[in-house]
Symmetry: C2
Amino acid sequence: MSDPVRIAVTGAAGQIGYALLFRIASGAMLGNDQDIELKLLEISPAMDALRGVVMEVEDCAFPLVKKVITTDQPEVAFEGVDIAMLVGSRPRGPGMERNDLLAANGAIFTAQGKALNDQAAKHVKVLVVGNPANTNCLIAQHNAPDLDPANFTAMTKLDHNRAVAQLSHKVQAAVGDIEGLAIWGNHSSTMFPDLLGATINSKPALDAVSQAWYEEDYIPSIQQRGAAIIQARGSSSAASAANAAVEHVREWVSGSERVTSMGVFSKGEYDTTDGLIFSYPVTVSNGVHKVVENRELNAFAQAKIKATEAELIEERDTVAHLL
Amino acid sequence: MSDPVRIAVTGAAGQIGYALLFRIASGAMLGNDQDIELKLLEISPAMDALRGVVMEVEDCAFPLVKKVITTDQPEVAFEGVDIAMLVGSRPRGPGMERNDLLAANGAIFTAQGKALNDQAAKHVKVLVVGNPANTNCLIAQHNAPDLDPANFTAMTKLDHNRAVAQLSHKVQAAVGDIEGLAIWGNHSSTMFPDLLGATINSKPALDAVSQAWYEEDYIPSIQQRGAAIIQARGSSSAASAANAAVEHVREWVSGSERVTSMGVFSKGEYDTTDGLIFSYPVTVSNGVHKVVENRELNAFAQAKIKATEAELIEERDTVAHLL
């Protein structure tokens, strides 16, 4: 048994946090042989609720959990952490414009970026789940100049899983038979679910479906799935988001030869603007994510990627004073 | 890969159900090589919410999940099931007396017992989580005369885990160093957390703590933990209950040489009334639970066991017309 891995989770008493903690604590993220310490951050008004959540974690008697601390101070939460899962963010309230939302979250992720810079392990792996995830991640990354930008990622794994599941359902193939699918760009309604590089049982996915279905049904349905869940459940995705976060970190730590999707610090791959947090097809080896090279992109795909890139540039410019 | 295991979950859109489904679907209960089918039961007014939950299960693209069906008919939910997790029950409403509660749940578990009898696989493993769990289980069992009474169990694993965790915290031992601890009787405030047969690193647990702490702090704190969680969280235990349900079934299916706690159909072991669903220390081998024999019980323990037995007899007599 190696030393405990220190894992910070923000927004730990929220709906995604509640779905996430027990999966992490049970070993689903880092395996059944890896001890862990949980460092849970919440806003001050949620500390009582967080205490209740921690009582339930205790009530599971998880053998891997060596320590749980709770705090409303990012500097405390991120001290020495190996993994930071930034789940908490300010949700969009009634009448709130996108710019208000970016500003409210800007303050949170500026503070958390600085605290990560000063307190986290230099190798810390940061996953931003809280929306707008890519730009929140960009703000945190910019406020952590001593950390490698590659340490900062935003979650598009939920979109990736949705895209795999819906293709699987459409063609009646097992999810394991689908490879190479990827989400490009922003975790928002402009994201581009790319089937051009995807295969089903090693045959091109786009041979199995019509271009009309792909463009008119599939892509919009992935882009708007979050809203569909809210309509059906009466609240936003929690357990499926938590599951995606577990898988994102698991693949980042344990490796993934299969193509997955992550929002990563762009170095300008595929002619996108560098310095954005941009979702690409990636593989992971030895704890390092790597954008898949030489994917074929036709004019349709390029236009979709440009559209989601444009949105990310606009978001970046809105928070330029925080960068 | 063997044939899918068919798992029914009732109350699948409730708080425990929501915490439970994703852990089952991810392989946490039956392992990463066991395909599963989920058969989800809800009351008619919750079918829309259940649809939202199923959308989220789909959005995880779990490779093990081969099929998910939803229904408000127990006969459909239990058709051919190998495992039935009866999570849904009528919670106690304002002004509701215990007898009202037993009556309301009596109707549910009578119908579900009959449906299990008629529809489930003969080897079905039934776990009742919904409260009052022991007596709900008794009603279901009595209404399924064609099934082996040993197939019916009620959950005291959450109490068991709470008892392990609190002892572990008190003596600063790893949870894995604690063995032999058990919960006796009813899943209610009369339950008896028994340390007499427990060891910490193979030494008697009761040598490590005072009898006063055991009787005056520890036992009441386990008995009243559910209420403490409600007070802290503002809602009842969900993720920790789901975790206990996962572990109960996992140990039942995969075996447990370590002593655990299960409410099982009593054959009168330890001079308790036979035919109750009574929590005992058990071990599990080849899918069969077995009450641990020859546990030492002093006068204190015997009195506690009699008290929880008396409550179970009273509950049984209240629902005698359903048996």
